[in-house]
């Protein structure tokens, strides 16, 4: 069942249509990915779900209730622009932020102690944030997001600026939360993270949701129209191919999207004439490829998508 429902939502800033008639649903107990290049309207949508901004028209409901200070309490939000009070002690800071979310002080204290313990951070309780390393303060930021035990977790570009260890920890936490029946929504412009973690996705481009649904179903619907090719030798023959789109190319690897129903065996033959083939595999397209073929090559800033 839908725990977050976004219905025909619009938000304009002056002449910019940041979000233009967007609808999607996030189901309980799922990991939902909001994808798209920078400036596609993801952060604006997330801010509206968090009741930081209000939509110009349309409606956002959380558990059936229109977004309000009450719905804010059931959401844990980690914005892209992250930060904490530099001159405040870790424990006081967490108490403040958790109580602002409506938790009473006794419960907040228990929860904070639990999470500090869990992250091996109990020793930092009385330290100011400015004394901590970047990785440490990132951990404190997670705790600030999750300590009030919300049902919904929203992370805006959570992996940007994270060190590899914390990145891995966050991934584990996200999956662990889902397994506990919580709902996670996160936005990213890095497609491979979505492929690894998301159950459902919504693709954003220029303020509009261009594709929504279950990730596996979406991929299956595109069919096995892509070739994963691993080879040894001169790769220049790839340039002579017509009616293909090569997305992920290196000296001995290429992901080839076959267009116009071209015969894949012909490509294999051509490849065998020019190089030694280690692997030839028909696969479903990558999300990057799905995004490009949905939006159209001309309508995206290619550098934004990886």
């Amino acid at each position: 069942m839908a725990i977050i429902e976004v219905k025909n939502v619009r938000k304009h800033f002056g002449k910019t249509k940041a979000v233009n008639d967007v609808s999607f649903e996030v189901n309980k107990g799922r990991i939902f990915g909001l994808l798209g290049p920078n400036g596609a309207g993801k952060t604006t949508t997330i801010r509206m779900i968090n009741y930081i901004l209000s939509p110009d028209s349309g409606e956002i409901t959380i558990n059936g209730n229109v977004a309000s200070p009450e719905t804010q309490k059931v959401i844990g939000y980690m914005p892209e622009e992250r930060g904490l009070y530099k001159k405040m002690k870790v424990f006081d800071q967490l108490m403040y932020l958790t109580q602002l979310k409506g938790m009473d002080s006794k419960k907040a204290k228990e929860a904070i102690n639990y999470w500090l313990d869990r992250f091996d951070a109990s020793d930092w309780k009385q330290k100011e944030i400015s004394e901590l390393s970047k990785g440490m303060s990132q951990k404190i930021q997670f705790i600030a997001t999750i300590a009030h035990e919300p049902d919904i977790y929203i992370f805006d570009e959570p992996f940007s600026g994270l060190d590899p260890i914390n990145s891995e920890t966050l991934k584990e936490i996200i999956i662990e939360l889902r397994d506990q029946g919580k709902t996670v929504l996160f936005s990213t412009h890095r497609m491979e993270q979505v492929e690894q973690m998301c159950d459902d996705i919504c693709l954003f481009n220029q303020g509009q949701a261009v594709l929504t649904g279950n990730l596996r179903e979406i991929k299956a619907s595109f069919g096995k129209n892509t070739i994963n090719l691993e080879f040894d030798g001169d790769g220049s023959f790839l340039d002579t191919l017509e009616d293909v789109r090569i997305n992920n190319r290196s000296t001995n690897f290429a992901e080839i999207r076959v267009l116009n129903g071209q015969n894949m065996q012909d490509i294999l033959k051509l490849a065998m004439d020019h190089a030694e083939i280690h692997k030839f595999e028909r696969i479903e397209p990558s999300l990057t490829e799905i995004f490009i073929s949905t939006v159209g090559e001309d309508n995206i800033k290619k550098a934004e998508i990886q």
Partner: protein, 431 residues
Amino acid sequence: MSFQKIWLVLKREYLTRVKSKSFILVTALTPLAFVAFIAIIVFISISETEVEKQIGIHDETGVLVERLIELNQTRYLDVSSEPVDSLRSDVLDGDLDGFIVLTDSVLVQGKSPTLVHGGSGGISFISAIRGDLRDAVREAQLERANVSQEVRDIFETRTGLEAIKLTEEGEAEDNTIVASLLGFILGLMIFFGIFFYGAWLMRSVIEEKTNRVLEVIASSVKPIELMFGKLFGVLSIALTQFVIWIVLYSGISIAAAPIAGMIMEAQMNSIPGGASEAASTFDPSTLNNFVVEPVIFVYFILFFLLGFLIYSAIFAAIGAAVETEQDSQQFMLPVGLPIFAGYMLNTKVMEAPDSTLSTFVSLFPLTAPINMISRIASTSVPLWQIILSVILMIFTFLGTMWLAAKIYRVGILMYGKKPSFKELAKWVKQG
């Protein structure tokens, strides 16, 4: 609006600051700095600032020069024996600062003599010489006219003026000077208070913005709740500080007279000889002039509170609109202008607290916090004026609050470029 959340924000703002070292230092050092500041002003105003210059007197009358030297031995020098030409070269060489030739016509026809100088000692120096000359000439004229001692005594009389203030409780010894000084100081404290704590609030908002903690907060609290929480948090800090100072001041001023009296009594007993002299030069009861009526402090707190509310919301909005303190400068100037005008005009208010100008600036809501308290402390302001100025200030602060809340709401999520006034106006429409 959730008061519980406002309370949480207020509590954080208050506790983190009050516990800080800078708060304790400011609380302790400001009264000392203030005393030093006042002491310097008093010292400058009472000390003789001019350098004593020497004026040669070429006296042809034979009766004036002794009188002048009698009046001021270091200032005047008898040079009647030297020719005027050599006096000129003395002045040019710097041996003399100036000279005056006094002829009989000065005495007989009342002609004004001329001071020839190589650089005057300023207006006050010249008027001092003029006063000396007048006295000397008049004395000589009186003597020449063979006027009786009685008439001379009449000319010697200098009538002073004692002032007594009539209040409900009866006649009280006048303390106009102390009262207007108090009025000025209270106005000054409100001026500094609004600026200091307003800037404090602004910095606190900018800090949340640059720390990037604002969006986390905004996902829990409405911007208006956050703004109110911070505003009243800083206000509570200010009030804490003022109450500490007021209690301290009242305690000292009330205790000063009895303690001074006791010390003097003790001295009197130990040194029987010099006691009468000490007692005659200083009366400890004059210290009671410095005891301030509690009602004035009540007004002080009220006007500070209203003034702070009017300005601080704007300061908070500026903080939300910019990202660094440097960027805030362009907005600080127009906001600071009226309050600065109030401060500058306060000397006028002190000189004539009942003038039309004083009445106007004490009613005009942007200057009233400073100028009205000065008037209240130094004269008796009609109650209707006080009430009117309070009402005007309340409406003004509702207005600035409304405006600021809109700018604040949009501003806290804006990063990147520094907005212009035009954009701020757009935010207000948007909010």
